[in-house]
Symmetry: C2
Subunit: 222 residues, 2 copies
């Protein structure tokens, strides 16, 4: 059990934190708890016990149960967006592959919380749906973006594939993201003998596979 | 308002029905009501009013609200499976295209009820999840099945594509179904200028597009 509250000194290295810093620390703890629990299972009581502080203090930081859930889930979604950020190195297709692997690793490490976010969004919970849609948009928008931060090839992945950015393309990229989510959640529950490298290769190849008009020479193996 | 109850004669053509026949007729009415409503919005009161019979009689047929919802949603799912049955004519890929078009037409005509089934299953409602999984399995199993009812080419679609039936293939076919569902629901809400023919062509082409190891000569355009 970790202790971040003022009543539980952690020894010589402990530093007095600002309220914002304390709130961030509590959020991090909430996100860790969420990795092995659904959003519904995550309670303020549980966080208070893990943090070694009072429920009253937690209500001071998070207002109410709904605000608490929203803050933890948003932080978890921000973490997902951050850890799946494509690297600066490599060709656009390699960067996609790296990002996909980070996504699979994230779902493996945070299955319960992530699956409950997807379920909650699917059920129409307005808070979870908003966070989920923002996260999914952040993940898929990368496919359309020009990188201007000095990477070797900053063209949008679509340009590399020779595909125009049209409503039809947007629809299918969204569909590819839905497929990826479903396949990864299914695979984490039951890999069924499919190894991670094959999974990643199939998902990466599926993006050009679902887009209309990919240039024959655009793919390394084509 | 239609009348199926004994208190509301429909004129000279009316025939006395068996209890099973009456139940089927009420279910059909429930399915029609569900086409423009979510499962949650569909009530026994509403069905009683539309059918012109008493709530008591409906409880006689359906037991309770949960049984009523389950019976109507199962009937709706059976209708979906039936109307999307691939035709006896044509090559396997053409049959897939025909089946896909029937699926899109079904979702267009029954958006509210179908979207609420998908949402309900996503939220973890056990009844809806069971019906939804059965329906999705029925739709995707067709891709693996040999047709023995005298069609010109009864080979499974996978054979035509030259793809082996492996756990990896099963995973990606499932992913294709998830993609198709998401894309069609999104498109029905907002076509965004994508016409139905283009939508169908993209979804049909996406199946071989997501499967590993499709033979280059297996597709008409390849």
């Amino acid at each position: 059990m970790s202790a971040v509250g003022s009543g539980h000194p952690r020894g010589a290295g402990r530093v007095r934190m600002t309220p914002d810093g304390r709130r961030e620390q509590l959020l991090d703890l909430g996100v860790r708890l969420l990795s092995t629990r659904s959003v519904d299972e995550l309670s303020i009581d549980m966080l208070a016990e893990e943090a070694g502080i009072s429920r009253g203090l937690l209500y001071h930081y998070f207002g109410n149960k709904r605000d608490f859930h929203r803050a933890v889930v948003r932080k978890a979604a921000d973490d997902l967006i951050r850890v799946t950020a494509p690297p600066a190195e490599g060709e656009p297709l390699e960067r996609l592959a790296t990002s996909l692997e980070a996504y699979v690793d994230y779902v493996m490490a945070n299955y319960e919380g992530y699956a409950s976010l997807v379920r909650g969004a699917g059920s129409g919970n307005a808070d979870l749906l908003e966070i989920y849609e923002e996260a999914r948009a952040a993940l898929t928008d990368r496919i359309f973006e020009t990188r201007t931060d000095g990477v070797a090839d900053g063209r949008p992945l679509l340009d590399v594939l020779g595909v125009a950015d049209t409503p039809a393309t947007r629809l299918m990229v969204r569909g590819w993201a839905a497929m990826t989510e479903d396949v990864v959640l299914t695979w984490v529950r039951d890999p069924g003998g499919v190894d991670k490298r094959d999974l990643l290769a199939m998902l990466a190849a599926a993006l050009p596979g679902v887009l209309p008009g990919v240039l024959p020479g655009a793919l390394p193996d084509a």
